[in-house]
Amino acid sequence: MLQIDCPFCGPRAEIEFRCGGEAHIARPLKPEDASDETWRDYLFQRKSPKGVHFERWVHSHGCGRWFNAARDTVTDRFLAIYPMGEKAPSIEELKARLPDVGSPRHAYAENRVAPERVEGERP
């Protein structure tokens, strides 16, 4: 079971969360003007990468808040956790955070990437 760092509550077990699928899917601002192809892509077309995947999570059995995360689909490591509405971090930067499993110190490394804490009132 994954451990996920809720930016509002801290690290919690995966069963408290629900994954909302790929992040940064923009709903066309003027749906009535969107072509069938645009609307199809918005509704159905999703990435399934081997490597860094940007996805939405909600702490449904906790604070109920949505946030974004970058997860390495090979190792299931979370590489970044950041607020809704914020731009995705660059994949190169995230790849640099992938655990260096070859290093002898890795066995004693931190098990998690601390998220960017979200302060203050909800929007």
């Binding site: 909302g20 809704m84 066995a107 909800r122």
Partner: protein, 1000 residues
């Protein structure tokens, strides 16, 4: 014969405390500290089981949880019966009763043994090819026979009476295994002050130290003294938790692990009434130190499965830990140094020992062995064995440097115990479960841990370091680092041990034996021989995963703990490639068989799932209601009177609602309080219809779509204030709708100022429906003008009912005049009682969900989730009237997709059967031409179907392709009973299409 093979002294058993136990109905004596296996061996019993396929006599192979053969059924009384329990881990208690498995009538005389003689009929994969004709015979003849003949223990037939618990814990350092490496790691981590959990499957700490006499290596100041001191030190550390009799069963993501603690399995039944039988620990560890040791490999030679043939380390463990001499004429057969210790210890204990070593020269232990009286036979292999129920003789041949037999063939040597050692497999199971990679180590001829993607480290023998010194020092360093402390230069551990000479891999011992008898077993539990692996290759299989499944090697309760590497190496040799090129099969959780009880814990019976009950539940129960499950709710389904079946009760309830009035518990409906300056704008985007102008005091029905245009939920929403709304949802959809609203607010429209709060359980909701509803309710109401004109349909009012603050919604799901009375849940039972009393003179009935379903269907009101299935649009339901023309809403653009505008989509229609008494099966398919050849064109399905007392006949709702244009057509519906019903397509509103009753 009482414990004839027990040594006079030595070992960890208490000879002063003899205890009785029963095996196959025969009574024996053992000692406190014994396992079932050690106690049987102490009584000279080697024959403990019959093999899976060939029913060959089998004995005890190992001394730990890796045991493949010695599986027994432990009977504990009171419905407690554990099949396939390894005798090597069953701790003996007074009165223990165990039975052998897979034999008929007895272990000594087993009719199934004919399979062994017929074995040419049963090569690997025989069942894929043999039992194919005739096809019908499989279920009736072949499968039952095979299940009877091949098998393990018997599943218990009664419910499990025992309790099982779960514990959830966190720690900084989890140490798995309390051998020298694990103890050193736990001590080092514990001294740093970290929260440490140490688990070990044995009843006491020490691991391999418990069987170490000092022949291989002695930890200063003595093995047992070290283990005891470590146990005492750990017990004194407040942040250290030591769990014995606890097997680490699963290693999952993010250092989440499960450990199974056997709390009272070692006690006679009933001796720990306040304790659970087992406890499943669910551990989240910051770091994990794996110190799970190594498992000895058998050698694969002809006749290696007779009772009395066991692993050399097991023979040594039985002697040193349990004070049992496993044989008096012992042959040790090895390709490495470690078995010399077994030979030396057994010789010193009085056994006559011969040691056959495939190598030309042994290491430093050779001279010590000779000094102990061991007869050494270098470059010698066992080519066959004899003995029906226990090994009596081995046949030895010399080999040359290429591993070929030279000289005289098969010289017989009498023996009653044959100890074998093919080297050691580091126990990499947990490392691998944690997605760690494996690397083949040529000097060990075994896999060792490679890269570990999770924060864990393997130390000691499980990391390929078989020395005591390495285990102690590596363990201490890992413990310190895992606790976050700095590494200190080597803590002083004295461990004297001889230098080991290299092992010589000999994966398949050569033999001149051929034919039936020449069975060299690779996997004892599944009766897989070296030949079977060859059969798999001949069949063209190459992937080790395929070979495993074809031959079943490495499967079963032991999951190939002793057999896997031998199988890989034999396959590699036959394919002329290397072991790592063949690869490994996947290591899966759990590490050892685990009870379902432990996995389930408390989540069974009434605690299996949440049960939600309304404030009216007890009343309904007292009235004899039959309940149905709707989501997690218990809802009153119907209220049968004496002598009534469901059909009669529903007819009576339906009639009463249409003719006078009925009371319905609608408390389970989802209720969401939506408030904020933008609440109105939000509803306008979430629902398909317009909400900007709904005045305070009014209600509106709304349909919610997904953004692809499909109906997802519906309900009535009331405007409480200009910025506050009371939304209702379907019973089952309530959590989903709240999550849906939150998702849009948080992720798409964060600019909207709206709060949504579930208030489902705050309100008791009572729906009073029927022509007399007003007469029943009005006398109880204060502060509301109940006149039909002053309080029209689709309005709500606030006042008091039966003296309690209430909101009354004038809405209806039956088509009758309806009032939904909402009061704070705590008053629900009181107000229900008041309405019930007031209704008596009007002949009020209480009705359940079935009647509600019939009444709403007569009106053509859909139930989302029954008449829709996620592929249905408002237009398909004939509800285009609720889709506004102006402005965006969720689902609007979706509805414009070409596929959703097709005329031949499945659309909601009514169906009337030709036979008015026939109630169609819900879910039945609909066809236009019943004589069309199969496969027929299915054009729709029945979604709702009932008998209606008001219509005086049956009726149904259905989704039919192009249904709107089919009105008046005759279609056909095949029924479950094989008949085909003719139906005519009609409008889905069967009653009061003008809605006059609503406004009465």
């Amino acid at each position: 014969m009482s414990q004839s093979c027990r040594t006079p002294e030595g070992g960890r058993v208490d000879r002063a405390k003899p205890i009785r136990f029963t095996f196959d109905g025969k009574s024996y004596q053992g000692c406190v500290g014994d396992t079932l296996a050690s106690a049987l061996l102490a009584n000279g019993v080697h024959l403990v089981g019959r093999s899976f396929k060939y029913h060959r006599p089998r004995g005890i192979v190992a001394a730990g949880s890796e045991e493949p053969n010695a599986l027994v059924q432990v009977e504990m009384g009171g419905g407690r019966s554990d099949p396939n329990t390894r005798a090597t881990v069953v701790e003996l208690f007074d009165g223990l009763n165990a039975e052998s498995q897979n034999r008929n009538p007895s272990l000594e005389r087993d009719v199934g043994a004919v399979n062994d003689a017929l074995s040419p009929l049963f090569p690997a994969g025989f069942y894929y090819k043999t039992f194919k004709w005739p096809a019908s015979a499989w279920h009736k003849v072949y499968e039952p026979r095979i299940r009877e003949a091949a098998g393990l223990g018997k599943a218990p037939t009664e419910g499990d009476p025992d309790r099982y618990l779960h514990r959830h814990v966190h720690c900084e350092v989890l140490v798995v295994g309390a051998g020298p490496a694990g103890l050193a790691a736990a001590l080092a981590a514990g001294r740093s002050g970290a929260r440490v959990i140490l688990v070990d499957e044995n009843p006491e700490l020490g691991g391999s130290l418990l069987m170490e006499s000092g022949t291989l290596g002695r930890v200063e100041p003595g093995n047992l003294a070290f283990a005891r001191r470590a146990a005492a030190d750990l017990a004194a550390m407040p942040e250290v938790r030591v769990l014995t009799r606890t097997t680490l069963t699963g290693y999952y993501d993010y250092n989440y692990l499960t450990a199974l603690e056997r709390v009272t399995d070692h006690l006679p039944p009933g001796s720990g009434p306040d304790l659970p039988r087992q406890r499943l620990w669910r551990i989240r560890a910051r770091r994990v130190v794996i110190a799970t040791g190594a498992i000895e490999r058998p050698l694969v030679f002809v006749g290696n499965d007779r009772p009395g043939v066991m692993l050399a380390s097991a023979g040594r463990a039985y002697l040193n830990r349990w004070g049992v001499l496993p044989g008096r004429d012992v042959l040790v057969f090895t390709n490495n140094d470690s078995a010399y210790a077994a030979a030396i210890d057994l010789a010193r204990a009085g056994a006559k020992v011969t040691l056959a070593d495939v190598r030309p020269h042994a290491g430093a232990l050779a001279s010590e062995a000779e000094a102990a009286g061991v007869a050494l036979r270098p470059r010698t292999v066992v080519v066959d064995t004899d003995g029906r129920l226990r090994v009596q003789r081995a046949y030895l041949s010399e080999i040359d440097g290429e591993g070929r037999i030279v000289g005289a063939l098969g010289q017989p040597l009498p023996c009653d115990c044959l100890l074998m050692s093919g080297g050691w497999n580091p126990n990499v199971s947990l490392h691998s479960q944690a997605r760690g990679l494996l690397v083949f180590d040529d000097s060990l001829a075994a896999f060792v841990p490679g890269e570990a993607p999770q924060p864990n480290v393997s130390v000691g023998a499980c990391n390929g370091d078989l020395s005591f010194k390495g285990a102690l020092e590596g363990g201490a360093e890992a413990g310190r680092l895992a606790a976050g402390a700095e590494a200190k230069p080597g803590e002083a551990f004295g461990a004297n041990e001889p230098e080991a000479a290299p092992l010589l891999p000999l994966w398949l011992v050569p033999s001149d034996r051929e034919g039936l008898r020449a069975k060299a077993f690779v996997d004892f539990q599944n009766d897989v021989t070296a030949k079977d692996l060859g059969v798999a290759l001949t069949e063209g299989l190459r992937s080790i995963e395929h070979i495993k499944r074809f031959t079943t090697t490495g499967m079963g309760t032991d999951q190939g703990k002793t057999s896997n590497v031998n199988a890989l190496a034999i396959v590699a040799a036959k394919l002329n490639t290397s072991v790592p090129a063949v690869g490994t099969t996947t290591f899966r959780q759990p590490y050892v068989p685990a009870t379902f009880g432990a996995m389930v814990g408390h989540s069974k019976g009434p605690l299996f799932d949440v049960v939600r009950k309304t404030p009216i539940h007890d009343w309904a129960e007292a009235e004899g209601a039959v309940f149905e499950d709707v989501g997690t709710w218990k809802r009153a389904w119907y209220f049968p009177k004496a002598g009534e079946d469901m059909h009669a009760a529903v007819r009576r309830e339906c009639k009463a609602v249409r003719e006078t009035c009925g009371l319905f518990d609608a408390s389970t409906l989802g209720k969401i309080d939506v408030q904020g300056p933008d609440a109105r704008a939000f509803l306008n985007r979430i629902y398909t219809n317009a909400w900007m102008k709904l005045p305070v005091g009014q209600c509106r029905y709304g349909l919610m779509l997904r953004d692809d245009g499909m109906v997802m939920d519906d309900g009535v929403t009331a405007c409480l204030k200009d910025d506050r709304f009371h939304m209702t949802t379907t019973t089952g959809g309530a959590p989903r709708v709240l999550a849906w609203l939150e998702e849009w607010l948080q992720t798409e429209w964060p600019d909207l100022k709206v709060y949504c709060t579930s208030v489902t359980e705050e309100w008791a909701t009572m729906a009073l429906n029927g022509p007399n509803a007003r007469e029943v309710l009005a006398p109880l109401v204060e502060g509301i003008d109940m006149d039909a004109d002053a309080f029209p349909h689709m309005h709500w009012r606030s006042g008091k009912v039966a003296g309690v603050p209430a909101r009354i919604f004038r809405i209806s799901f039956t088509g009758e005049t309806g009032f939904e009375v909402n009061v704070p849940a705590g008053y629900g039972r009181h107000v229900w009682g008041a309405i019930w009393a007031s209704g008596q003179k009007h002949g009020i009935v209480a009705y359940g969900t079935e009647t509600m379903h019939v009444l709403r269907a007569e009106k053509g009101y859909v139930i989302v989730g029954q008449d829709t299935d996620g592929t249905v649009t408002p237009h398909d339901l004939g509800m285009s009237w609720i889709v506004k023309k102006q402005g965006d809403f969720v689902g609007r653009r979706g509805l414009e997709r070409p596929d959703l505008k097709r005329d031949d989509r499945k659309q909601l229609v009514g169906l009337l059967t030709e036979d008015p008494d026939l109630v169609l099966d819900e879910g039945a398919q609909i066809v236009a031409d019943p004589s069309e050849p199969v496969p027929m064109t299915m054009i729709g399905h029945v979604t709702s179907s009932y008998d209606s007392p008001d219509l005086g006949r049956s009726f149904a709702l259905a989704l039919v392709a192009g249904g709107k244009t089919r009105k008046g057509q005759t279609l056909h519906v095949p029924q479950l009973d094989g008949s085909v019903a003719a139906v005519s397509v009609v409008d889905p509103v069967f009653l009061d299409p003008e809605g006059k009753r609503l406004h009465g």
